[in-house]
């Protein structure tokens, strides 16, 4: 979340200045972690039978961890830059654009 210094005399407009991608990565990542642990520790035979032999928690958890890593990677590779002018028209300055 880098941000240039604000120009003097202008109140900063930062409505878009926090990065939702890190929030998504954190929540999805935590979900993945909890599900992987649940899948490894407490999958009963009944659970397996219920879902047709698949360890649902384990596989969903792994999938969520991958998605979380992708979001974190995206946020780190193209960090958010907030343009100075309020009307900021230049798309290519936005990592998320």
């Amino acid at each position: 979340m880098s941000k240039h210094d604000t120009t003097a005399g202008r109140s900063p407009h930062r409505a878009g200045a926090f990065d939702i991608r890190t929030f998504i990565a954190m929540l999805i990542g935590l979900y993945g972690l909890v599900l992987v642990v649940t899948g490894l520790v407490s999958t009963s035979a009944a659970d397996l039978e219920k879902a047709g032999g698949v360890n649902v928690n384990l596989w969903t958890g792994i999938g969520l961890l991958v998605v979380a890593a992708l979001f974190q990677g995206w946020a780190m590779l193209r960090p958010l830059v907030v343009p100075e002018d309020f009307d900021g028209r230049e798309d290519d300055q936005h990592g998320a654009g």
Binding site: S11, P12, H13, R14, A15, G16, A17, F18, I20, F23, I24, M26, L27, I28, L30, Y31, V34, L35, T38, G39, S42, T43, S44, D47, K50, A51, G52, V54, V56, N57, W59, T60, G63, L64, V67, V82, F86, D87, G88, R89, D91, D92, H94, A96, G97
Partner: protein, 563 residues
């Protein structure tokens, strides 16, 4: 929508499930606090400072509509009718969303209006504006209350909590983040909610498909079911439209659902358009509904398909369907919940519950944030307290958010007591929507259209829709159509009457000075103001028209694959 009573749907949630739900609530509130730091003016609060990137507003655009009625309702329709339900997405949403992005967004974003009713006021003056703003505001409170009631009744069915407990908790959470961070908080949460909803429904769909033996297995089971193979092809969809003739059914779906109903909803509904208005540039505003179209066309696969799976694998529901949708203690509306109960272990179950809560709260927060903008800018600032400093209207916005939430709780309790009344009221507000598109599109492209024609077209179009509805099989039964088919015909009548009346009245009354209509009417607006300063610098995926073409091609292919 009424859910099965008793313990039929009760889930054995354990502490892991509650942990996942609690985590979700923490993040939702966290986003509210993070967004609050960036609110320094009323434009920040109501329109996110017009600063959001297109992928964020595009996902929020979808998420705002992915509420209770969408998820539970579409899986129920999927369980009942099968593949024809896809029309609500591929015919009834995508074309209108693309049209909004390509044709109408330049007017909304380029004229710098702050709401859809405000565009109405600048184009037609106060008559049409009042009709639009007041009916919209009332409808939002009503729908927010219905969303809230559905949330509480799902939590009640799944976890056994008393109705009022979940009602108050959910309302308090939505209130905290929308009052703190305004539209930014609502939009960022909608993006988060989108991923939680997908994370809940995608595994459920895959597990369900695995259990029935893949898509081929599902086809076999559906063919063996009560409908035969009709549930497997989306066209001509007679069961869905209620028309006996296949030709009329196709015409009804394409014109009624695909043109009048969906264009009315997607292109003039401020809940949706507000998300695009919050974006950072003209091309981003145009791309908002177009980017949203790509996930939108695949959402039915994780909503409709689970409904179809539930109808063949869940015993109670399969019996219900064999009996022609009568008797038994469950209903199509329970499809998704029954499938969760039958397939998911603890852990994944918590994620699924979080996903459902996310969907309900996304819908409600979208209604509240659109309501407070229209109330503050279009009603309060316009007609009650004019010309105060900006911070005053920011304060009004926060107070109105609280008031709207309290009203929504009241509506939810009303819905709990008088379910039929709510259905009628929702139908009624649907009628206000029907003629809006006609008035907007005519007003945007015909400079001669007069302010008097603006409000008279709206009123007479609404009256036409109400008349058709009163005559239909749903009420008096004078004309032999009902249900979805009736809604298609009512919307069509509203559209036609609105156009005819608007043209006739315009020719008899005095048009506005053309100078005042710059930015509001196509032929009176310099074409440069409809695009970014450097359109040639945009790459193909930033070009709204090319993206829209791609989306259209994809949705046509999908229609052929599942025809």
């Amino acid at each position: 929508m009424v859910l099965a009573a008793g313990d039929q749907l009760r889930l054995d949630a354990n502490w892991v499930d509650y942990l996942l739900v609690a985590l979700y609530f923490m993040f939702v509130l966290g986003i509210g606090f993070a967004a609050k730091r960036s609110v320094s003016s009323s434009i920040d609060f109501f329109l996110s400072g017009r600063s959001l990137p297109a992928w964020v507003t595009g996902l929020a655009f979808i998420s705002a509509n992915l509420g209770a009625i969408e998820i539970m309702g579409m899986s129920a329709t999927g369980a009942e009718f099968g593949m024809p339900t896809m029309h609500y997405f591929w015919i009834g949403a995508i074309p209108a969303m693309l049209f909004l992005g390509v044709v109408m967004m330049p007017f909304y974003y380029g004229s710098k209006v702050r709401s859809v009713p405000e565009f109405m006021r600048r184009r037609f003056g106060t008559g049409a504006h009042l009709v639009n703003a007041v009916s919209f505001a009332l409808a939002q409170v009503l729908i927010a209350g219905v969303n809230l009631f559905l949330l509480a009744s799902v939590v009640n069915a799944l976890l056994g909590w008393p109705l009022w407990v979940s009602l108050v908790i959910a309302a308090a959470v939505v209130l905290s983040y929308t009052a703190l961070g305004g539209l930014s908080a609502a939009i960022y949460n909608e993006v988060l909610q989108f991923f939680v909803i997908v994370a809940a429904l995608l595994p459920l769909t895959l597990i369900g498909l695995n259990k029935v033996g893949g898509y081929e297995g599902l086809k076999e089971k559906v063919t063996a079911g009560p409908s035969g193979g009709a549930d497997l092809s989306s066209w001509p969809g007679q069961a869905l439209s209620g028309f006996d003739s296949p030709l009329l059914s196709v015409i009804g779906i394409v014109l009624g659902l695909g043109f009048v109903l969906s264009f009315g909803y997607w292109t003039t509904n401020f809940v949706e358009v507000q998300r695009a208005m919050a974006s950072e540039s003209m091309s981003a505003a145009q791309r908002t509904p177009i980017i949203g179209a790509f996930p939108k066309m695949f959402i039915p696969f994780i909503v409709v398909i689970p409904g179809m799976i539930a109808a063949v694998t869940v015993n109670e529901l399969a019996t219900f369907k064999e009996n022609g949708g009568t008797g038994g203690s469950v209903d199509y509306n329970d499809a998704l919940l029954l499938l969760m109960r039958d397939l998911l272990p603890n852990g994944m179950l918590g994620l699924a519950i979080a996903g459902l809560l996310a969907s309900f709260m996304a819908g409600m927060a979208a209604n509240i944030s659109a309501f407070n903008t229209v109330f503050s800018y279009d009603l309060w600032e316009q007609y009650v307290v004019k010309d105060r400093e900006d911070s005053y209207y920011l304060q009004v916005g926060r107070v109105v958010t609280v008031a709207a939430t309290v009203l929504a709780i009241g509506t939810a309790f009303l819905a709990a007591g008088y379910a039929n009344l709510m259905t009628y009221l929702q139908t009624l507000f649907g009628f206000f929507n029907a003629p809006l598109f006609a008035t907007f599109i005519l007003g945007m492209f015909w400079k001669r259209m007069t302010p008097t024609a603006g409000w008279m077209g709206l009123v007479s179009g609404t009256a036409a829709a109400v008349t058709v509805w009163l005559l239909s099989g749903d009420v008096l039964g004078v004309i032999g159509i009902e249900g979805q088919g009736g809604a298609f015909v009512a919307a069509g009548a509203a559209f036609a009457v609105d156009i005819v009346v608007s043209v006739a009245v315009s020719l008899m009354t005095k048009p506005r000075e053309y100078g005042e209509l710059k930015g509001l009417v196509w032929s009176l607006t310099p074409k440069e103001s409809f695009q970014d300063e450097h359109p040639s610098r945009l790459s193909w995926y930033q070009n709204p028209n090319k993206l829209a073409g791609l989306a259209l091609a994809m949705v046509i292919v999908l229609n052929f694959i599942f025809a």
